[in-house]
């Protein structure tokens, strides 16, 4: 399906194929490139009218993404009509953010084309069609980290319907203190066991503070939680400073 929406508000006719669009930015870029418009100096009034004409003709009026873009174009159009300050240096082009987004999007659109070519080339190489059944042997030992389990708990809690959520009782947690304590432990050693960090006979609050501090330190890349062998205890290792990235 293609339609000529020429003459709506512009002298240049343009042709669009609606199935080709993957979103409003795609449509906008199409209009700009098709008419060889300088992206740094978009005639926003014309483009906005063309954009509205196209989404109207293709019944895209219901599509929130397109409507949002239409609203944005109209807003920019109005801003462009406002009188500029005398000092032109002060003037901020209302189109600047849109141009930045369009250029960024165009870059990814080009990557998408590259990926499509790559995928279609690779699709002509076939892997072996018959793979024998995996042998009936014991599965490899599981590796599990405490942090993984706790994150899973968090996911479950989040996904639970509200009424099941527990009453939230503030506890005397001292995550900051635990973080400082763990950091100081690591000043002299690169590796510690979980029990060494938590300490013997720790209270639940102490234990929890330490675990949360550890989770946070693991998340920021200061430490890594690992198991040396499948059934061994959790080892907390300090990451080398450059590995935090």
């Amino acid at each position: 399906m293609s339609v000529s929406a020429g003459g709506v508000t512009t002298d240049t006719p343009f042709v669009v194929q609606v199935e080709a669009f993957s979103g409003p930015l795609d449509l906008l870029l199409h209009l700009i490139r098709e008419q060889e418009i300088d992206i740094a100096d978009i005639p926003i009034a014309t483009i906005a009218d063309q954009f509205l004409a196209v989404i109207d003709q293709f019944g895209l009026n219901d599509a929130a993404d397109y409507l949002e873009m239409a609203a944005q174009l109209i807003r920019i159009k109005i801003q462009m009509l406002l009188p500029r300050p005398f000092d032109d240096e002060e003037w901020e082009d209302p189109r600047a953010e849109l141009v930045r987004r369009l250029l960024e999007y165009e870059q990814f659109r080009e990557v998408a084309d590259w990926l499509a070519t790559q995928a279609s080339e690779h699709a002509s190489r076939f892997v072996r069609g018959w793979i024998p059944e995996p042998p009936d042997q014991p599965p490899r030992p599981i590796v599990m980290e405490l942090a993984e389990l706790l994150l899973a708990v968090e996911r479950v809690v989040e996904a639970m319907p509200e009424p099941i959520l527990h009453r939230v009782v503030p506890r005397p947690l001292d995550v900051e203190g635990a973080t400082a304590r763990i950091r100081s432990l690591f000043e002299h050693r690169d590796e510690l066991g979980l029990t060494e960090i938590v300490g013997p006979g720790a209270s639940i609050a102490d234990l929890l503070s330490s675990l949360l501090a550890l989770l946070e330190l693991a998340r920021t890349g200061f430490v890594r939680l690992a198991q040396r062998q499948p059934f061994g205890s959790v080892i907390i290792r300090r990451e080398s400073t450059d590995a935090a990235a």
């Binding site: 069609g129 599981i142 590796v143 994150l151 899973a152 708990v153 996911r155 996904a159 009782v169 929890l208």
Partner: protein, 185 residues
């Protein structure tokens, strides 16, 4: 290798099941049975003389390229080597629910997680991380599940008491003020 032999190799390699002479004639653009037969012999000889770890065999349904029996161990290793050693998200989440709600029935886990957990539950039991610990009082006296000592061992915990309490965890990991809307799928 001539073109016909190559076509048969490509077809036999990529097919999910053995191919008959007639199947192979289709690939070979209508070559005669004799031509296909010759190409099969040629391919077989290629694998045998070239010292390949694979061979061309004839089974009831047709021809197939398979690894030679002497390499069974390498085949098994290759299949095991990529088997995941990490638990899936679904397994971890089920484990999390059981750890905090045990003893717990399958129906309760499913109510909390909002999905069927039959498969993942069975796999966690097979892997020795969960076990049946009793029966509930409700309708049909449902099986109740709990964690095993292996579960604690894997986490390096001495006892279940060392797990943080759920309410403490949720408040600490995520302040209620930041909680907004349903979680992402």
């Amino acid at each position: 290798m001539n073109r016909l032999t190559q076509l048969l190799e490509a077809a036999l390699f990529s097919a999910a099941h053995p191919l008959s002479v007639d199947d192979l004639r289709v690939v070979a653009d209508g070559a005669s049975r004799e031509e296909v037969g010759e190409a099969i012999s040629s391919l077989r000889a290629h694998y045998d003389d070239g010292g390949h770890a694979v061979e061309l065999i004839e089974v009831a349904e047709g021809f197939q390229v398979v690894t030679r029996p002497t390499f069974a161990e390498a085949v098994a290793d290759a299949q095991i080597v990529r088997r995941p050693r990490k638990l899936s998200r679904a397994a971890l989440e089920t484990l999390a629910v059981v750890a905090y709600r045990q003893p717990v029935s399958r129906a309760e886990i499913e109510e909390i997680r909002g999905v069927s957990v039959e498969g993942v539950l069975r796999s966690l039991i097979e892997r020795g991380m969960l076990d049946v610990v009793g029966r509930g009082d409700g309708l049909g006296r449902p099986l109740l599940y709990g964690t095993t000592p292996l579960f604690l061992e894997l986490l390096g915990l001495r006892s279940l008491d060392e797990l943080p309490r759920l309410d403490e965890l949720s408040v600490a990991l995520r302040p209620p003020s930041e909680r907004s809307g349903p979680a992402e799928p």
